[in-house]
């Protein structure tokens, strides 16, 4: 564990840690020496001439003072190490994470990194001050005492030493039991936690479909299972705890009984025996204390492993000799890619000539999003190549590539700050006029006009919540301000209300004019307008061409098109009239008016 700690903190912090370890060891050994001095002190006091105790006592005073100094030094360096540890860990984590490929940053990483930078760093910070001290004291002090016991009486010392293997064995055994118990408990705990989340998130459905408080069987069962396992773990854990304490007590008993026997036989000086018994009685304590540290130790080790694991995630390699793209065309050439060995794309090849539009169409899971992400180099391809302007994206610096691409995705992240700050992210050195102009084109000025503090309204975490459509407008404004040649767009599937729909469409029109555009299309109108449609299925290109060509082909796209067209004529009618579900392609192009994406009390009751 100490090795892990050294590995994780980085070279700058190692000297502080080393100093602390030395101080800790010194204090522990000095404590053992002070304890052992009890033997000569008591021997003289109980002997014929108590005055002969003074030299020993002064030695004890000296040892105590030395112990005090070492202890103080270890405390001071311990806390220092804790504080600098937090800083260096945070910085190391921060530096490393910012170099990771974008693909690493999934939603599950948000929670994990939050946990890592708070709870886990805390756990590690506590290692020097709260874990190493009792551990080192727990083993070094008794060790010193036993070693010095040999000087006074080898038989008792031997009796003590002989108990050590048992103590170690039982310690291992009980620690193992405790670890297994924890694993069982954790599993039950996470199952119950998932059921709780389900219960809370699905409350409306459970309620409305008559499953009241008592209704969620699975949750009740999970909670009971957690209790039952908890009980089982307790019962199976008892032998471990009892065993360890018992073996330590047995050690003490052995020493006492052997000592009494020797003293009664006159083979051992009574004063010496008593002093040794005092020692034996007292050094039992630190050892049993170290047994209770098991769970904190596991927690700290866990935390260390998590940080180590994160620091091991390879960063995105940067090219040694960067290439430079000649235009804004995109080319996928025999691209194959998979997550964790599960193939997502295989042998995908197509080109997007500069200043044209290509629409990606296909069922969910067919690989549309992955293609846009490979172009932005969220990950590197497993096979083939992605080229921008003729240059492999792996031969471009991250900065260069990013400067050429704007991404407008469905989930838009807003930083804490004003709307203006959030648009300015697109180009920090833009003038106020440029920011306003981008905002106007993206219809963000309408949002600002509506908000109580106008442009100065705080948005993002802890600020005023903007609706989905409004967020998307802000992200379009960012992209407009950035003014890159290539736009990767994920059209919103979520329904937008009519006024947002109108604004978003207008904003997109401003953004996409005269650029190279790759769009994950959900609206038929968008698809029809594309210069090229790529139909994906199961990670492969099923069909490719213009709308008219693909309809004529009468394949997957044609089927998709007629299904979508059928959907547009649907009507919900009352008074017993049946809906007219016979809409056909001839009845006009599909419409795109989409309803509210704003989280409202009905559609998204619980997050």
């Amino acid at each position: 564990m100490i090795r892990q700690l050294f590995a994780v903190v980085g070279p700058d912090q190692r000297p502080v840690l080393r100093r602390m370890l030395i101080a800790l060891c010194a204090a522990a050994v000095l404590q053992g020496v002070a304890f052992a001095l009890l033997v000569p002190v008591l021997r003289e006091l109980l002997g014929d001439d108590p005055d002969r105790v003074w030299p020993w006592l002064w030695t004890l005073v000296g040892a105590s003072v030395a112990y005090g100094i070492a202890h103080y030094a270890s405390l001071l360096t311990g806390y220092q190490a804790g504080a600098t540890l937090s800083r260096s860990l945070h910085h190391r984590i921060g530096d490393h994470v910012s170099g990771l490929p974008l693909g690493w940053f999934g939603p599950e990483q948000v929670g994990k990194l939050g946990q890592l930078t708070t709870q886990n760093v805390m756990d590690i910070m506590g290692v020097p001050a709260h874990l190493l001290r009792p551990l080192i004291t727990g083993f070094l002090t008794p060790g010193t005492v036993v070693a010095l016991m040999f000087v006074f009486d080898w038989r008792l010392a031997l009796a003590a030493v002989l108990t050590v293997p048992f103590i170690v064995l039982v310690y291992r055994w009980s620690a193992n039991l405790a670890r297994k118990a924890d694993e069982v408990r954790d599993e039950a705990r996470s199952e119950a936690a998932n059921r709780i989340i389900e219960f809370v998130q699905h409350q409306p459905v459970l309620r409305v479909f008559g499953r009241g408080p008592a209704g969620h069987r699975a949750l009740g069962a999970a909670l009971e299972n957690q209790r039952d396992l908890g009980r089982k773990v307790l019962v199976t854990g008892v032998p471990g705890i009892v065993g360890f304490t018992l073996v330590i007590q047995a050690a003490f008993t052995t020493v006492t009984v052997v000592g009494t026997y020797l003293a009664l036989g006159g083979e051992l000086q009574v004063a010496k025996l008593l002093a040794l018994l005092v020692l034996a009685a007292r050094f039992v304590e630190p050892m049993s204390e170290s047994a209770t540290l098991g769970s904190s130790l596991r927690m700290a080790r866990n935390a260390l492993e998590k940080v180590e694991e994160l620091l091991k995630v390879p960063a995105l390699p940067e090219p040694a000799e960067p290439a430079s793209p000649r235009d804004s065309g995109i080319e996928l050439d025999g691209v194959g890619f998979g997550y964790d060995g599960r193939p997502v794309l295989s042998d995908v090849s197509f080109t997007v000539p500069p200043r044209t539009m290509t629409a990606l169409v296909g069922p969910s899971g067919s690989g549309k999003t992955t293609i846009t992400r490979l172009i932005a180099r969220f990950w590197d391809v497993d096979a083939g190549a992605v080229r921008v302007g003729g240059a492999d994206v792996r031969d471009l610096t991250t900065e260069d590539l990013m400067s050429r691409i704007s991404m407008v995705f469905q989930d838009v992240y807003l930083f804490e700050g004003t709307i203006e700050d959030n648009i300015r992210v697109g180009r920090p050195d833009a003038t106020a006029a440029e920011v306003r102009e981008a905002a106007r084109l993206a219809h963000v000025d309408e949002i600002a006009a509506r908000l109580p503090q106008g442009w100065d309204t705080k948005v993002g975490e802890g600020g005023t919540a903007l609706s989905g459509g409004e967020r998307q407008r802000v992200s379009i404004a960012r992209a407009l301000l950035k003014d890159s040649d290539i736009v990767l767009l994920d059209e919103a599937t979520a329904a937008l209300d009519p006024e947002n729909e109108h604004a978003v469409q207008a904003a997109l029109a401003a953004l996409t004019a005269d650029r190279t555009l790759l769009v994950i299309a959900h609206r038929m109108r968008t698809v029809m307008a594309a210069d090229q449609i790529v139909v994906l299925d199961g990670g492969r290109i099923a069909e490719r061409g213009t709308h008219d060509e693909l309809v004529a082909l009468d394949g997957r796209y044609a089927a998709f098109w007629s299904e979508r067209s059928r959907a547009t004529g649907w009507r919900l009618t009352g008074g017993g009239n049946r809906p007219d579900a016979s809409g056909s392609p001839e009845s006009g192009p599909p419409e795109s008016g989409d309803p509210a994406g704003r989280p409202d009390p009905l559609t998204a009751p619980i997050r």
């Binding site: 103080y72 921060g94 930078t117 998130q201 479909f209 008892v238 009685a281 992210v425 009618t573 989409d594």
Partner: protein, 596 residues
């Protein structure tokens, strides 16, 4: 503080008796724990007896000490076992009470909360109380009983030596209390600094895609680094203000210093002849052990504080007012729904609904239309009682919803909303939710009605497949399973969000077919987004700013040439617009300049 205590004692009531037994056992065990030390001291007395050694007595004392150890261990395990088992049962009890309470809260309560927060209270906070229930009481008992027993014995041996022994302890504890004085404010500051780190880490990760694509990785990173530095320096200041008194108290309380004091004092008394050397033994043995239990208690301050705060949150949730259940429930007569002068406000200040009068006749389709913020979703959410009205009333069959027992209400009203909620359970259990006793034939009929039967039979285990495990549905398929559920529930009233059909562009038509089946012959209230969909409704209600602007059939509203007519014309214009040459563009937008 007293309120906090009262809350805690209420929480602990179910296990109070068991905790009492455990404390008693712990007290005896603490006394038994002192016995071996006393035995060693007494052994010394026997062995050093000038009249010769009494062998029998020596062995008796030795075995008494061993027996003391064993008794201590047994009782200790007993006491700990009882509190741990009690804690284990208490956790289940509290969690059940919390779940029960959650099931009775107004649905609106959930929309203001994140499921993670609720999970934290139910799972983590209840677990965090563990230390309080299983350890603290016992530690407290030991911290009182061990010193009291030891001191009583020591005073009996020699009162002067006792005073000498406790001198460093008193000094050390005083220093310790001093370090604890500003603890509370510091801990609050500590939590805040932690919170800032967490927030900036979250921002860092969530915003990274934006930040990277705009070439500003440094920016988000800087914020995080600042938070980290802030925390580091706060911690350093805190620690360095504390390290001296802390070290002083630790050194004063350390066994080495206590031992040194006892031996120095003892040596003085022994050499001047005022103390028998044998009487020094108990002090070296027991004096050193006086502080350990007290220190154990103080080390647990952090856990205790966490546990207390957790208990507070648990109590708060347990005391959240539940949705009132009628004292004298009434039975509705028919299914006519009346909104009568309904006013509603989420926060008590801004009214979202400002006097709505509306009647839904049985068997008709009523569509709610309006801009976002007009109150249409809120109005619909009053029907399944997500919220209760602020003023006025909503009646079903002549009975105010608040006078209907919830199960009566939900036997009559089902809803289909945009976000599908399927449980991690078998497909058939999901469809059966409202009627667990439905037979397989009925389940299959509902699934066929919702156009999802074929999909389900293609699953590895058919209807027995578990959602999220071997049954993975696309958005539209999941939506159809939820419609099958509503079909099986067969309630006379359906509240429907029209956005449902957009869940999955690939299977829009199939969802539509399912909805057609579901709404056949029912009283339907639909929140409409696409006007074309609801043009055939029996009545269209146009909401504007929380009021009904106009209502009537599609034709009558068009003829009236009001708000609806304007919306319809805008809608028609969008629908008929042919795709322009420029992608996704509208004609006027093309002329707009690009930003440089």
């Amino acid at each position: 503080m007293t309120a906090e205590r009262a809350a805690l004692s209420t929480l602990l009531r179910p296990v109070r008796r068991r905790l009492g037994v455990a404390v008693a056992l712990q007290a005896v065990s603490a006394v038994a724990g002192v016995v071996p030390f006393v035995a060693v001291a007494e052994l010394g007395r026997v062995l050093l007896d000038d009249d010769g050694i009494d062998h029998g007595r020596a062995w008796t004392v030795t075995w008494l000490g061993v027996a003391g150890l064993l008794v201590r261990l047994l009782l200790l395990v007993g006491a700990g076992g009882i509190t741990h088992l009690a804690d284990n049962d208490l956790q289940l009890d509290i969690r059940r009470r919390l779940v029960d309470r959650l099931g009775r809260l107004p649905l609106g309560w959930f929309s203001a909360r994140n499921s993670g927060t609720v999970k934290k209270t139910l799972q983590d906070d209840v677990t965090a109380m563990h230390h309080l229930v299983a350890h603290s009481l016992l530690e407290l008992t030991a911290a009182v009983v061990v010193p009291v027993t030891s001191l009583a014995y020591l005073f009996a041996v020699d009162w002067r030596m006792t005073l000498v022994t406790i001198a460093p302890l008193v000094l050390g504890l005083t220093a310790y209390l001093w370090t604890m004085a500003g603890m509370k404010t510091q801990l609050t500051a500590f939590d805040e600094a932690m919170g800032r780190i967490n927030a900036s880490a979250v921002e860092f990760v969530q915003g990274i895609a934006v930040v990277k694509t705009f070439g500003q990785t440094r920016r988000a990173h800087r914020r995080f680094a600042e938070a980290a530095d802030g925390f580091g320096s706060f911690f350093m200041t805190w620690v360095s203000s504390m390290v001296r008194p802390r070290a002083a108290s630790e050194i004063l309380l350390s066994p080495v210093v206590v031992l040194l004091t006892v031996l120095l004092g003892g040596a003085c008394f022994v050499t001047d002849g005022s103390l028998d050397a044998v009487d020094l033994l108990p002090f070296t043995l027991l004096g050193v052990g006086l502080t350990a239990p007290v220190l154990a208690l103080s080390y647990a301050t952090y856990e205790l504080r966490t546990a207390r705060m957790a208990a507070e949150r648990v109590t708060e949730l347990l005391e959240t007012p539940e949705l009132p259940v009628p004292e004298r429930p009434s039975a509705p007569n028919g299914h006519r729904i009346e909104f009568d002068a309904v006013r509603f406000s989420y926060d008590g200040e801004n009214e979202v609904l400002k006097g709505i009068d509306l009647t839904l006749e049985p068997g008709t389709v009523t569509a709610l239309v309006g801009a976002s913020g007009s109150g249409k979703s809120t109005l619909a959410s009053l029907l399944p009682r997500f919220w209760d009205v602020t003023e006025g009333s909503v009646r079903l069959g002549g009975v105010d919803l608040r006078d209907l027992p919830p199960d009566e209400l939900y036997r009559r009203i089902a809803f289909v909303f945009q976000d599908v909620q399927l449980l991690r359970d078998t497909v058939s259990a999901n469809i059966r939710l409202a009627r667990p006793d439905a037979d397989p034939a009925e389940v299959e009929k509902a699934a066929r009605g919702a156009c999802v039967h074929d999909r389900i039979t293609r699953l590895p285990r058919g209807y027995a497949s578990v959602v999220g495990e071997d049954a993975r549905f696309s958005g539209g398929e999941a939506q159809r399973v939820s419609i099958a559920r509503a079909l099986l529930a067969d309630t006379p009233v359906i509240v429907l969000d029209e956005a449902t059909v957009f869940a999955d562009p690939e299977s829009e038509a199939a969802v539509q077919d399912a909805l057609t089946e579901l709404t056949r012959g029912k009283t339907v209230l639909v929140i409409a987004h696409r006007l074309a969909t609801i043009a055939g409704a029996d009545r269209i209600v146009v909401l504007d700013g929380g009021r009904i602007a106009e209502q009537g059939t599609h034709e009558r509203l068009l003829a009236a040439d009001g708000m609806y007519a304007r919306m319809w014309r805008a809608h028609e214009a969008t629908a008929e617009r042919r795709p322009a040459a420029t992608p996704v563009a509208q004609a006027p937008a093309q002329e707009e300049e690009r930003v440089r």
